[in-house]
Point group: C2
Amino acid sequence: MSKPRPISGFPEWLPPQRMIEQYVIDRLRRTFELYGFAPLETRAVEPLDQLLRKGETSKEVYLLRRLQADPDAQTGDDALGLHFDLTVPFARYVLENAGKLQFPFRRYQIQKVWRGERPQEGRYREFLQADIDIVDRDELAPHHEAELPLIIGDALASLPIPPVRIQVNNRKVCEGFYRGIGLTDPDAALRAIDRLDRFGPQRVAELLMSTAGASESQAKACLSLAEISAPDASIDDAVRGLGVEHPLLDEGLAELVAVLQTAAAHSPGLCVADLRIARGLDYYTGTVYETQLQGYERFGSICSGGRYDDLASAGADRFPGVGISIGVSRLLGLLFGADALSISRPVPTCVLVALPAESDRPAGNRVADTLRRRGIATEVSPSAAKFGKQIRYAQRRGIPYVWFLGVDGEPDGVKDIRSGDQVSAQAGSWQPAAADLLPTVSDQPAPAAGRPPENLDNMPR
Amino acid sequence: MSKPRPISGFPEWLPPQRMIEQYVIDRLRRTFELYGFAPLETRAVEPLDQLLRKGETSKEVYLLRRLQADPDAQTGDDALGLHFDLTVPFARYVLENAGKLQFPFRRYQIQKVWRGERPQEGRYREFLQADIDIVDRDELAPHHEAELPLIIGDALASLPIPPVRIQVNNRKVCEGFYRGIGLTDPDAALRAIDRLDRFGPQRVAELLMSTAGASESQAKACLSLAEISAPDASIDDAVRGLGVEHPLLDEGLAELVAVLQTAAAHSPGLCVADLRIARGLDYYTGTVYETQLQGYERFGSICSGGRYDDLASAGADRFPGVGISIGVSRLLGLLFGADALSISRPVPTCVLVALPAESDRPAGNRVADTLRRRGIATEVSPSAAKFGKQIRYAQRRGIPYVWFLGVDGEPDGVKDIRSGDQVSAQAGSWQPAAADLLPTVSDQPAPAAGRPPENLDNMPR
């Protein structure tokens, strides 16, 4: 076969990048579990009618077809498509399994999703998302909307990435305000405001007039609301200063202030209310979140979500929820591109056991076994080449220690190949430096490869 | 919408099952990393021509099509399909990234795969596999074939499952033997032998004659070889007792004995040579592995693989490898079905902070923060209902401790709700029993729900 090529939009990491991704996933999981979220996975596929419930995303869906199947057999209602997010499958899962779940139900879900979009920087066709959601039966207490930013704040603070700022808004504030000024299609107004970053105020004003039935002064009022931003309860005064009144506006503002106050008590500076945040998807009904990486604001939001009251409902059963989703592939792709993440070595291995001869492999395996049983990741050299070559095997992988089997009753020795220091050692008791046990991830660029020590082939035992 | 239903062949676990699966994945990862394997993931899709290289599996492939795309545009060479295993994508990844990898390259990969097969017990259309592979450039030393069973043995021994037996064979033994008795199409003979379990010796003898050009006595000889099984070097005598000679047979027997001896030094009883093990896929060229769960032999192999010399090669580049794949979904599905795995609670939460009133939520959050920072998974009660109701929230989830905020300067208290014992406690120093910190997985059925304590609503603080 010819040499294969990458497929646009389907990123694959090299081993050190994948190790960083795995580290990030483990850190996120740890925080989510400390907050009591249980892990969950849903299947990769959903019936097409489920995926199209939101209407607008149909163009993004990948449909499945069995190679040998009758092409006509799988385009009807039974057609299966790959999920494009984790919220729609989770809402379906809750409805399907409601009788077996305890509510409120807290789950995290870290999985790939697929969208047939045009690939571009930080936008992929296959990517990893890490979601948390809380759903309850019938009613969901608003304090959960205030809790989510704490969890996301802690989760992201546990990573070697720049600090974040979570921008919050509340759909009720927008809808109440729009209704208060006399607009009758608040969803259309919200969709126009959602394009403010891309289109600018002039074009959005025109959109408000052409799609949401706004007069020029109503459009201006909508834009004034979108300009408001505050880190604390002063948001209430700022909105009320616009002189609009509506019960839904009152409700939304109270919820928004509660989110800000809860966040400020936990992590000052983490959350800011920003009333231009709309989130394009139609299913949000309360608080909405976006998240900027400080210094990388041009990348857009790396973590978004909100409250949805009607996504999981069937007949009389209703499961309102609130959730937020970290774009793991997006975040890592951008930081890898900026050379802003590195790992101390691209293998888990801490010790390489060198072999004087292939016939020493059983003895090497015994040492390796003993070290592994003590939690020290160990490889036995793949060949009994000259020691210099075996040491270079370790060096090229950043393995910090090489173990030498003792001959003629002498004790074994272990060499730190960075310093060249060698000590006598027993596999049952020797301990590497704590910082060397596992690879470490940092927010610094990977160092240039160091100059190898000289005369490796003649190194003393 | 109406209540959604499961899709046949696409299993989804309930939260406690998913927690067990996550535990199993973490244990496998731990062992793989202790042996120096780096994590890797490949994209879910491969070009169709890659997937069809092996010929026989075309019927199993799911093709992708964008909903809005021209149907004709995606049926040619550019068509993408979901991968049906992790070996073919890994071979492609190695070829694509060879210049950036260090050889021999050791990687593990734990991902979903998809096959459009008819679903049945333990056979899914979407399932999780955990693979390890070692590939080298140009040549791969045979000791790697002996190393893999050790890793798999350790990995499976770390799980709360019955002991396993790994059955090994070597393609060279079969091919050398078949050639030694004068057969010219050893692949056809191997495919016939591969059906021995399903078809029985009579029909396989007929197959050998009709598809592999065997005479009746040649077919008999093939069946005699397939009957041989031994846990140690005596396999050599048993095969030679059939009186067949061929250089490839000698080579294969030497490799097979080395695998058995290495395994016996590490884990007596783990490996047995079983010369009926053929593995249907054509790409194996040396050692092949299957794995039986003791007491569940009727389930078939839960972990299979082998050596492949020609899977990753393009032009003059050749990367022989050896790998083995644990069928995680298959294993768990069968054990869940047998009620042979359980977890102590279906949430990570160790402590529930009870709230006397909703206005105490900020104080509850502070306690929870302090506990979480000390690694103790904590939830704050979702409502300030009567304490009995809050305790039942914990009970239903198996959360072992409920934390009570002190009032009027009294210290906080924490109650073990299983025993009813309550002690004074400070969030900065209190420690749960070590066994309660994390949920524990066992190979016993889940206990029936215990009788709840009486008079919960009137429990003293």
